[in-house]
């Protein structure tokens, strides 16, 4: 008994140590980003690069948000991101459920086609899709950035389908026998059971939209519509980049995503019913 206790404590300690080491390593980029955001101009070019700034130059933050219309860009990022998140939460679970639990002709073919479309490097589909949107007169609006989310995203559909496949068919059959419509089954049974998976999808889409650069670059031609991702590159200049201001702007940009993640991570990890067996 005693040795069992000892080995238990030992393994716990090792786990804790590993955890701390891993966390420190993973925190480094963020730490450097924040540290740089407080540095003075001349500190940016010292060698070896100082880990911490001499003094905390809070002014960098003020300069960062006045370099470009920060809050306007922020609002635009919010619109694009929230729009996309709603879009994927609407279209992807629907399709995933259909692939996983409903039977229709050609279902598998369509699913494979869907996966196949993930495989083409996006640079080459950029132009044909742009031409479509320009013919629809939707260039310089947020629509090209939000609409595709409402029409399914293969990565998420694939992921959700995996989750839906693990739900017991017996559950649905029972509901059907009871006379429930597919829509009712979908909204009242399937969705709640995959809530954590939906949060993962929301988080991933949130992150993707929040930092998307190429999409806004080619579709938004009015500065008032620019999101934050088009703001950060503005700090880069051949005539001297203010890395400190840029990192300050980047830090502010990161905070909302971080908050979203902190609040949802517990939810996600708790009981995603992957394999249908009740815990």
């Amino acid at each position: 008994m005693k040795s069992k206790r000892k080995s238990h404590i030992l393994s716990k300690t090792i786990s804790l140590m590993l955890l701390i080491i891993v966390t420190v390593i993973y925190m480094l980029p963020f730490f450097w980003m924040v540290s740089t955001s407080f540095k003075a101009d001349y500190e940016l070019y010292e060698y070896p690069a100082p880990l911490l700034p001499d003094k905390l130059i809070f002014e960098n933050y003020k300069l960062a948000v006045t370099y470009f219309p920060f809050w306007k860009y922020f609002r635009n990022t919010l619109i694009i991101t929230l729009g996309s998140v709603i879009g994927v939460l609407f279209s992807c679970p629907l399709a995933a459920y259909s692939f996983a639990q409903l039977e229709w002709k050609g279902k598998n073919l369509v699913f494979y086609l869907l996966i196949a479309t993930m495989m083409l490097p996006n640079f080459v589909t950029l132009i044909p899709v742009f031409v479509i949107f320009s013919k629809l007169n939707l260039v310089n609006t947020f629509w090209p950035l939000i609409l595709p989310s409402f029409l399914g995203q293969p990565f998420f559909i694939f992921l959700l389908r995996q989750f839906f496949l693990s739900l017991p068919t017996s559950l649905f059959d029972a509901a059907r026998i009871d006379g429930a419509s597919e829509l009712q089954i979908y909204t009242k049974i399937a969705l709640p059971l995959t809530k954590p998976a939906l949060i993962v999808v929301a988080l991933f889409q949130f992150l993707g939209s929040w930092n998307d650069y190429l999409g806004p670059l080619i579709y938004l031609t009015n500065e008032n519509k620019y999101p934050l991702s088009l703001g950060l590159p503005q700090f880069l200049s051949q005539y001297g980049t203010h890395w400190n201001w840029m990192m300050a702007a980047a830090t502010i940009t990161v905070i909302p995503v971080l908050i979203f993640f902190i609040f949802t991570q517990k939810q996600l990890v708790e009981g995603i019913k992957f394999t249908g067996s009740k815990g």
Partner: protein, 436 residues
């Protein structure tokens, strides 16, 4: 009855007047995101709009880096492009060839401008880059030039006179050796590395005295040129003498895409500014950066023309820079031309003064030097500066030259083979295009 109809007529006249005076809207895309540059551009645009009430120009910032023209390409393909665009002069020929630009001279003439006279008022190399197939496609905007920057403090420490920078290549090599410090296998300080900063193949090819392209015969000639080959051999000498791997390791600390050919994002940390590299060939923008305070406190530096081989006898530099063009499919090319004309002439004078950018408009140069006496060296070099051959294979040629240099540095190919391979590849592409 009469009153009503008179009112109607007046109303109609009023409406017609308003409609007739509806200013033509011109959209101008640029990527000068630096606040000083940007403000200047916007002021120039404002002045133009005031002087031309029937034209309204809107300047829009495109946050793309360098010569990234992704947004422009997609816009032209979709027919939603701007009327005026800020383009890297070096790519004008390529874009013109691929039908991505409207002929500017035609529209300038429609505005009553004497194009030949106009051309003569720009620095030679700049206006040359704007012409393809005898048509003028762009007007030059700003430019840049390269010189040797050196660290005065490190000079003193090595026993060299900080007021006497190296003049010849031979002196440069000597100084470089004295300024290099090693601890075991690793470099604490390096004196000079030819290919860092703006030490591109073009820089040294021209410094060693020769041309890359024969305009008359439309042939690339760099692979057969002894001097250019020598410039590559000289660079290889540095690689062998100091060890290419150790040097790469040294520079990787600074986030520099050491031998990558993409003109990517700005390097986060500059070893020259850090005091780790004693001498570097770089552009006048470095001067602007240092003056802005983006350098260590108390940084002591000097500038000198690029050292040259003794037998060549004089220093050479080359210049790049930007231009303004009318992309294909612009809705109002005539008005756009008028705006471009203003920007590239009077506008340029103001910009040079506001933003410390080297102008290409001859009239603007003295104004610039007066405002920024430190940049006098660069301004003086403009009259003899070279430009990259305006060819539709411009980008490919650049990449191939850099790759050839890398093959040589890493010992994968000898100078002769590397240059020949590059030349053949690009010439092949060029021939295809010239036939058309």
């Amino acid at each position: 009855m009469k009153k009503k109809s008179i009112l109607l007529v007046i109303l109609l006249c009023f409406v017609t007047l308003i409609l007739a005076q509806e200013p033509v809207k011109i959209i101008f895309w640029h990527n000068m995101s630096n606040p000083v540059d940007r403000k200047s551009i916007e002021e120039i645009v404002q002045i133009f709009n005031q002087k031309n009430p029937n034209i309204e120009v809107e300047a829009i910032l495109v946050p793309a880096t360098g010569t990234d023209a992704t947004r422009l390409m997609t816009a032209i393909a979709g027919g939603t492009g701007p009327d005026a665009y800020y383009l890297d002069r070096f790519t004008v020929a390529q874009r013109a060839y691929y039908n991505q630009l409207e002929p500017l001279d035609k529209y300038l003439e429609e505005n009553g401008i004497d194009v030949e006279l106009l051309k003569s008022k720009y620095v030679d190399f700049a206006i040359n880059e704007c012409i393809w197939d005898n048509t003028l496609y762009a007007l030059p905007w700003d430019t840049d030039a390269r010189v040797l920057f050196y660290n005065k403090k490190l000079f003193r420490e090595a026993g060299l006179d900080p007021e006497k920078p190296p003049v010849t290549i031979e002196e440069l090599d000597e100084y470089a050796e004295k300024l290099t410090k090693k601890a075991g296998n690793r470099y604490l300080q390096i004196g000079f590395v030819p290919w860092v900063g703006e030490g591109w193949p073009y820089t040294w090819g021209w410094t060693f005295g020769r041309e890359f392209y024969d305009y008359e015969n439309q042939k690339l000639i760099f692979a057969e040129d002894e001097n250019i080959k020598e410039s590559f051999e000289w660079q290889k000498m540095y690689a062998d003498k100091y060890g290419i791997k150790e040097m790469e390791a040294f520079f990787s600390a600074f986030g520099m895409s050491f031998t990558g050919s993409s003109v990517g994002s700005a390097a986060p940390i500059d070893p020259f500014l850090n005091g780790q590299l004693a001498m570097k060939v770089d552009g006048n923008w470095l001067l602007a950066q240092i003056e802005q305070g983006l350098a260590p406190a108390g940084f002591e530096y000097g500038m000198a023309p690029i050292p040259y081989p003794e037998e060549v006898g004089k220093s050479t530099t080359w210049a790049g820079g930007w231009s303004i063009v009318i992309p294909k499919g612009a809705k109002h090319p005539k008005e756009a031309a008028k705006f471009i004309y203003y920007m590239a002439t009077e506008g340029q004078i103001k910009y040079a003064e506001d933003a410390a950018h080297l102008p290409t408009w001859k009239e603007a140069i003295p104004v610039f030097v007066e405002a920024y006496p430190k940049q006098r060296l660069f301004a003086d070099l403009l009259s003899t500066a070279k430009n990259r051959p305006p060819l539709p294979v411009g980008a490919l040629l650049w990449d191939e030259l850099v790759d050839a240099r890398n093959y040589v540095l890493y010992g994968e190919k000898d100078v002769e083979t590397a240059l020949l391979d590059a030349q053949n590849k690009v010439q092949q592409e060029l021939n295809k295009m010239l036939i058309r």
